[in-house]
Symmetry: C2
Subunit: 306 residues, 2 copies
């Protein structure tokens, strides 16, 4: 174990970055990170905790970790990197449990889709000399659980780090280097800006997809089966998004309330305008918007995010 | 030329179904049909008309048709199958032009995403002995134009036919047989029911995607470029849908007004309920819905439409 305070600069490429990495929660993202760390040899040992014994067993069975426990405190004790991969709403309960067991010089990071809440819920419980580097890999699939992960999930995807003001530079560098080795592009932002940008690129799309699929589940049985049958007309893309992890997404909306409500409001105004254009047969307004939105698609393709 | 009234029963598999097929409009769907017809040897000759000379030239250059003209009347004269592949809003102008030139026994079909409007706009202009069999292949991509088509587009996709009451059975059979040979599954519906089902499986998803991408285009330039950069969080799927043909979709909304407005209303109520749940921190309501929507995804996967 080499991690002492201050945190050392990242090791050269090819060498391990960490001695022991502890995952708190090991679903799609955590298990993908564990696979990537193992594949790239970035740590000497990987351990995890999960809320259920079944998930612990699964993580061991998949060979993702050397040790797994339902007791989060016991796995973080000797870790120099702790990665929170639980739903964001669970952080407030996890932080006071693991806080006292973290050793000086340890780095705590996470992968949550909201970032202000992490700083709010976790930072107060970290002892002096433990470094918080909140992170968010903008990657995922609609599948959940440790068996759903794969080491290449983060390649060519963005990872956003939102270190709070005054964060330890070496700790930030080490976390950034880990993501670079995973093949990700790095971006640094203030947590509040992150939450605003992600409200539109990720949170609103999920909310809308959940809504529209929910609207369909309320239809009479006959119509519902037809909706499934003819879903290739656009609906199926929404069902994929609306199959994402329910607890994770519940926590995202509850923990990014202001930004999400603000963007729903804008969306609602825009939808009402379109609704009115349809009612009054204003084809030119519809065509103008539908033409304008094509430019954004070209942007997404040009940015290699298609 | 063998087509006389009454229409003959479909030829056995492997034999041509039609003598001359005329496409009015030759974009993604029309050109995919033309490719499939050629590949499967379903017609002796394929011709087309398009509004612009450039599209006619492109169709000839791609080898899709033997003859192309901007004059729709001239290409339908000797056709035993006429396929309307123009935006639905153009049918009302096309029908009176081609009607007088259609020969007895000819079949007129189409591929529009709304079906009541077709019967309303086309049927009155068809002479006695010409058979209208409206159709809608539930298949597509976000790309437009004759170069975007491919013969396999319809394989394992549904094609819905909405023959009006009293339609000629042999004509319906022939059109159905063409779609079967394309690899599609056939479904028969009343036009009004089609328009209601597609309003939710296709029209609302497109409207929502256009709206959300439109909301993003109104953001300040900095944020907009970040929205594109981090679109992998869900937004990019909407940009794909919102890149669909603007004129085609304008016409869909204008021609399925009642069903679309009705489903927007339901969607709005459901979104408002979610918005309220977020505002008041009602996590149980969110989780309940997000869990329920997963079942629909499983249905889509089971129906092999994923």
């Amino acid at each position: 174990m080499t991690a002492i305070e201050p945190v050392e600069r990242p090791a050269p490429a090819g060498e391990p970055l960490f001695d022991r990495v502890a995952f708190i929660g090991i679903g799609l993202i955590g298990s993908s990170m564990a696979r990537a760390i193992a594949k790239l040899g970035l740590a000497r040992e990987i351990v995890c905790s999960a809320r259920s014994q079944a998930t612990c067993d699964k993580a061991l069975e998949l060979g993702l970790v050397a040790r797994a426990s339902t007791d989060a405190a016991s796995v973080v004790a000797d870790a120099d990197l702790v990665v929170l991969c639980a739903p964001v709403g669970a952080y407030a309960a996890i932080a006071p449990v693991i806080g006292p067991r973290l050793r000086p010089g340890a780095i705590v990071t996470d992968v949550g889709s909201v970032k202000q809440a992490v700083i709010r819920d976790v930072a107060p419980y970290l002892p002096e000399g433990v470094h918080l580097v909140p992170g968010h890999p903008v990657a995922g699939t609609e599948h959940s659980g440790p068996e759903a992960g794969f080491a290449e999930l983060f390649e060519n995807r963005w990872c956003i780090l939102t270190p709070p003001p005054g964060a330890n530079e070496a700790a930030v560098d080490k976390v950034a280097e880990m993501w670079r080795r995973f093949g990700s592009n790095l971006e640094f932002m203030e947590a509040s800006h992150h939450d605003k940008v992600l409200a539109i690129t990720s949170h609103l799309p999920h909310l809308i997809a959940y809504t529209i699929v929910g609207t369909a589940t309320d239809l009479e049985e006959d119509t519902k089966s037809e909706v499934i049958k003819f879903s290739a007309g656009g609906f199926r893309d929404f069902t994929r998004i609306a199959a994402s992890d329910p607890v994770m997404w519940r926590d995202v909306f509850l923990n990014n309330r202001e930004a999400v409500l603000e963007i729903i409001q804008r969306f609602n105004e825009d939808l009402t305008a379109l609704q009115r254009a349809i009612r009054w047969g204003e084809g030119d307004k519809l065509e103008e918007l539908f033409t304008r939105t094509r430019a954004i698609r070209r942007g997404v393709i040009d940015a290699k995010q298609a």
